[in-house]
């Protein structure tokens, strides 16, 4: 489930089991807050689907995404605590230092 460095993913060819970030918008205009919108594309094996593991795009069990039990795909970095958002609309990664990441997956992206 390694992350595909862009040079090895020439011309949109992804090795099975790898992902690449195809879109990233970052807004840091507000101090102490960053809002990033990111789309990852993954070539996953059967039964898997694009998701997030350890804060990077990765293929995860399709069941996790369908059931929206986001924390089961270990989306946070080590040392962060994952908790599901209200209504399973996403998850938060909380670090002891007061850094909170709130991540909400959007509905399917029309590629």
């Amino acid at each position: 489930m390694h992350f595909c460095p862009s040079l090895l993913c020439l011309a949109g060819q992804l090795t099975v089991g790898t992902c690449e970030i195809v879109m990233l918008n970052r807004d840091s205009s507000v101090p102490r807050r960053t809002i990033a919108r990111q789309t990852a594309r993954c070539a996953c094996r059967r039964g898997q689907i694009a998701g997030t593991t350890r804060a990077r795009p990765a293929c995860v069990d399709a069941r996790i995404v369908r059931s929206r039990q986001w924390c089961e795909m270990a989306p946070c970095l080590e040392g962060e605590i994952c908790s599901l958002l209200f209504n399973r609309s996403g998850w938060t990664c909380t670090r002891g230092s007061g850094r909170i990441k709130t991540v909400t997956p959007l509905p399917k992206e029309p590629s």
């Binding site: 020439l10 011309a11 060819q13 992804l14 090795t15 099975v16 089991g17 195809v22 879109m23 918008n25 807004d27 507000v30 102490r32 807050r33 960053t34 809002i35 990033a36 919108r37 990111q38 789309t39 990852a40 594309r41 993954c42 070539a43 996953c44 094996r45 059967r46 039964g47 898997q48 689907i49 694009a50 998701g51 997030t52 795009p57 293929c59 995404v65 958002l85 209200f86 209504n87 609309s89 996403g90 938060t92 909380t94 230092s97 007061g98 850094r99 909170i100 990441k101 709130t102 991540v103 909400t104 997956p105 959007l106 509905p107 399917k108 992206e109 590629s111």
Partner: protein, 743 residues
């Protein structure tokens, strides 16, 4: 000024000097400002020294004293060996510098410094072994560089990168040249003419950076085979010379990149034939020199004959003559026609076969023909045409016609047709490539996330900001069902907060469901209130339930003991202690935990619940008064009862003054419909006279003082259910009583 200064000490001398000065000035003053600059000794100068010619003067170094005005400097045919740094530094008008036919073997770094207007630099016929790349800095107007006939051995990467202005580069006759870097011509984007003739090249170097190259001289090399892609990038090339280059084979599609080629010279080579339709992509081609090649005239050159007749009808006899077969020897190709041969459509010797491969593997679809002079085209499933040399990342057509995949993908699946053409017609063969995604699902999946990351420096705010986050996210991506709920009933008792939420969510909804902007919802005051109220209600409910339970238990126990010790008056105090222990074991800290005794009011023994965790021990000094009070009023009250039932004791007078301080906890419960203090009041003295006990909720911490209520429950219970206890508790003014107060 100087004169004035000098005058004061001694007058006669300066006056003389002044006169002399004036005289001198008179004689020499109105001189012309433009002096004719000196000409360097062995040289001849003209045009006011802007042309300096020093040819054949046996100079072994560049003469000094060359005028600043020089525009043209000719140092040809001398014996200069080294060009030193800054040699021409002052010649800022120099445009042409001729150093050819010397013995230059070294050009130092900075040798051409200070020549901003130099446009032609001639260094041919010298003894340079390397390209003096380092010396080319700052030659920003250099257009022509002549390096022909130097013993240069390599053309390293970026050899000419510093002179992008170059238009003409002469690298002919570099007979020692044996290596040309792939990036040797990088940066020469303005180059129009390149001479690489007579360099002994065995391969055509990478010329792709030369996008404006118009004329390319490659004659006199040893190329042998010209392959497709050799001229990749030369989209502006108009003239290509390949004479005397021992070319024996030109592969299919070798010239496909030269879209606007006008003139092609292939004379004096070893060509027998040319692949079918080699010139078809060259729409501008109008002059082809094919003479002096051993052409074999058969069906394979028939296309060339047609092409010549069609393209240069006036001059079909100009160039190529047949060398074989003997019957056609000496005949012009342009005069051949089909009657001379019997031609057959091409045969595909090895046609492609259907292939089943898994994704990521290499694959080959063969299409081998009997002769390489046919043309081969592949039609791919998506309709594109592939030919030899056409550039795709993973797919290529090899010279033998094979379609080669380095790494198939599922998208490559489909029918591939190869079409082989010669002058007699074409033949096709089709095969199906089936790529299966062995262990992967089809295609790609996407995952789009919006991440909001904050760093809170103040730890105390963490919880607050987290709450805020939930709000934000919720608003950004409203769940449809929740939204409906919220919109559905905006008029309930807690409507203010909910409606504000729903309005926010609908706002977010308008923003296309993928809002990246964050709506700041720092405080929704209505929601807080609702939460508070709810908590109070729950807390009080629990309290009441607990109260009832404890009441029953304690009542039962006390009653039991009372019955046991009914007739043992003197021993009562000790017995009480036992009772307390039992209660303490049962309810434990639960009873005492919630109660706080305000030390300021401790004299009166008023118990107040401030905070669930804190217990302040009362000042016990005046327990006498307490006892007295209780005794005198025959008020059957456990001291605990003071917690809540304080209002009930107003008639006692002692406590009344402190009531204002002691209201916190009872008041918190008064906001609840069934207020605990209300209950107590009514059950106690029933006066209910203190209006503050019914006051609206005061701001207080929400974690309910349920434990405090336990205490009060006990008191309440003691008040009502156990009137017989009174004598037991307060008969002796001893420490035991006080301890009980703490409980």
């Amino acid at each position: 000024m100087r004169i004035v200064m000098v005058t004061s000490p001694c007058t006669p001398f300066p006056v003389l000097w002044l006169v002399q000065f004036l005289l001198w000035f008179h004689n020499h003053g109105p001189q012309p400002t433009e002096a004719i600059p000196p000409c360097p000794t062995p040289c001849t100068c003209s045009n006011q020294a802007s042309r300096v010619i020093c040819t054949r003067k046996s100079l072994d170094q560049v003469p000094n004293s060359i005028s600043d005005n020089t525009r043209y400097l000719n140092l040809q045919e001398n014996s200069i060996q080294v060009i030193k740094s800054d040699t021409f530094r002052h010649l800022r008008h120099l445009e042409i510098l001729q150093l050819s036919k010397n013995h230059i073997r070294q050009i130092e770094v900075g040798a051409f410094n200070g020549l901003p207007n130099l446009n032609t630099l001639e260094l041919f016929d010298n003894r340079l072994t390397v390209v003096p790349t380092q010396a080319f800095d700052y030659l920003s107007k250099l257009r022509e560089l002549w390096l022909r006939n130097n013993p240069i051995e390599t053309l390293p990467a970026f050899a000419f990168n510093r002179i992008p202005s170059l238009r003409r580069l002469d690298l002919g006759e570099l007979r020692k040249l044996d290596f040309i870097s792939e990036a040797a011509f990088e940066g020469l984007e303005n180059l129009r003419f390149l001479n690489l003739g007579m360099c002994g090249l065995k391969d055509i170097p990478n010329l792709a950076p030369l996008v404006r190259l118009e004329e390319l001289e490659l004659s006199g090399n040893q190329l042998g085979i010209v392959r497709p892609g050799s001229f990749q990038g030369l989209v502006s090339l108009r003239k290509l010379w390949l004479m005397h280059s021992k070319v024996s084979v030109i592969e299919r599609n070798a010239f496909d990149d030269l879209k606007i080629l006008e003139e092609l010279n292939l004379s004096h080579n070893s060509l027998h034939s040319l692949p079918h339709d080699l010139f078809t992509p060259l729409h501008q081609l109008e002059r082809v020199h094919l003479n002096h090649n051993p052409w074999v005239c058969n069906c394979d050159v028939l296309w060339l004959s047609w092409w010549l007749k069609e393209t240069v009808p006036s001059n079909t006899t100009c160039c190529a003559r047949c060398h074989a077969p003997p019957g056609l020897k000496g005949k012009y190709i342009g005069e051949l026609d089909q009657t001379h041969f019997t031609c057959y459509a091409p045969v595909i010797v090895e046609p492609p076969t259907d292939l089943n491969v898994t994704e990521g593997m290499a694959a080959e679809l063969k299409c081998r023909t009997g002769t390489s002079m046919t043309s081969v085209n592949w039609f791919t499933p998506n309709g594109t045409l592939m030919t030899h040399g056409s550039y795709r990342v993973r797919i290529s057509v090899l010279h033998d016609g094979t379609l080669n995949f380095t790494n198939v993908t599922v998208q490559d699946t489909g029918q591939y047709t190869c079409m082989v053409t010669n002058s007699a017609g074409n033949t096709t063969a089709t095969a199906v490539l089936n790529v299966s995604a062995s262990d992967s699902s089809n295609g790609y999946s996407y995952f789009t996330t919006v991440t909001v990351e904050t760093v809170e420096t103040v730890r105390g705010e963490d919880t607050k900001s987290a709450g805020q986050y939930v709000n934000e996210t919720y608003i950004e991506f409203p769940n449809p069902t929740v939204r409906r709920e919220l919109d559905g009933r905006p008029g309930t008792t807690i409507s203010p907060s909910l409606s504000s939420l729903s309005s926010l969510s609908s706002k977010a909804n308008k923003a296309d469901n993928s809002v990246t902007s964050v709506i700041d919802v720092t405080n929704i005051p209505g929601l807080d209130d609702v939460m508070k109220t709810t908590k109070i209600i729950i807390g009080c409910f629990v309290a009441i339930t607990f109260m009832a339970a404890v009441m029953l238990v304690v009542f039962y126990k006390l009653r039991k003991q009372h019955q046991l010790h009914k007739h043992h008056g003197p021993a009562r105090a000790i017995e009480i202690v036992n009772v307390e222990d039992e209660i303490g074991a049962g309810a434990g800290s639960g009873i005492s935990g919630g109660s706080t005794v305000n030390s300021g009011t401790a004299g009166e023994g008023t118990l107040r619940i401030h905070h669930p965790e804190v217990i302040n021990l009362p000042n016990i000094g005046r327990t006498d008064t307490l006892n007295h009070y209780y005794k005198t009023h025959h008020f059957n009250n456990n001291v605990m009862g003071l917690n809540i039932g304080s209002e009930g004791m107003i008639p006692g007078g002692i406590l009344s003054s402190k009531n204002q301080h002691g209201q916190d906890i009872p008041i918190s419960c008064t906001s609840v419909p069934i207020s605990t203090s209300n209950l107590l009041n009514t059950s106690g003295n029933g006066t209910n006279s203190n209006p503050s006990s019914m006051s609206p909720p005061l701001p207080m911490s929400l974690p309910m003082p349920t434990l405090g209520l336990h205490g009060s429950i006990k008191g309440f219970m003691g008040q009502n259910q156990n009137p017989q206890m009174e004598p037991l508790l307060f008969k002796g003014s001893s420490k035991e009583n006080v301890q009980e107060t703490q409980i």
